[in-house]
Subunit: 99 residues, 4 copies
């Protein structure tokens, strides 16, 4: 798997366009989708101590990673739809002072 | 700014470790943080039609992109904390059949 | 303050209609609003141990309660918009076997 | 089913205590649970126009109402756990100036 956001985004674009899904992928729905998926990720750790959460990851690593990937997929596409140059904005953030 | 997830993650790790924050970044709190940030992203589009959401992006692009970046930062770190090899799991997903 | 959901809902309806807001209160936006407010509630406890979360409540009780109230306000209105008879559905749930 | 928040809360307390669940119901986990359930509610309307969302309610009313009830159940218990007198705080809000 590529480590390049641009290359991953290209795969996402292709997957989406083969299904003609762009019409549904409004910013509002993409943000809602990210929020929903974030809830599914959080659910893995609900009612659990930190130790139990770590054990959950051990026992359900593929499922937890898939939730992370689901969020990433929507996030990369949304960033791409909103602004192909989003990195120029992100680079101005305090967190990335030297990127 | 780098296009490499690994290189971005290295910046995030460094930023976090300079502040000694890893002790707080449990999987449960990282998932909660992603969920909270996703809500802040969604809030940009609340009560808005799709046309108004697009106008919101035009007028607040840096702010919207920062919310996306905030989610990405937590997501990359969580993936890194959970599994340095998370890409092997993600690569098995239907969405990425050929990565 | 009334303890009756119906009476609270009547206050919410009046507040909303005086501002002509019903046009914006689609089920999708109401659900998004609840999700956003839930994130704001959760944010009070982010990066905190259970003990620190309890201390947060002690030091910020009115703010925490306001977040709970914000969720409740949207929840009661959504239930009212969707189904004036929603209680008949809720009453069939396992949790409320004898209501 | 009762229309009284206090009476509904009493049922919730009883249900919880019969299962000895209070030990897990920390404020942080309750807030996380509300956020997760809010995502499940929102999911009913994802990728849908307002008209399609209304149709979803028609075709899945019990399921949608159950999601609302799930949020309400956690919300009432959290309010009860945090502050038996939470209504005095809520009553000071702008929305409820005359309650």
């Amino acid at each position: 798997m590529s480590d390049s956001i641009e290359q991953i985004t290209e795969v996402i674009r292709k997957f989406r366009d083969e299904r003609d899904w762009k019409q549904f992928h409004t910013p509002k729905d993409m943000a809602a989708a990210i929020s929903i998926e974030a809830g599914e990720l959080l659910e893995h750790f609900l009612w659990k101590t930190n130790e139990e959460a770590e054990a959950r990851i051990e026992s359900h690593r593929p499922e937890v990673v898939e939730e992370i990937a689901d969020i990433g997929i929507f996030l990369f596409e949304l960033a791409d739809n909103i602004s192909p140059d989003y990195r120029q904005y992100a680079s101005s953030r305090h967190l990335f002072p030297h990127i």
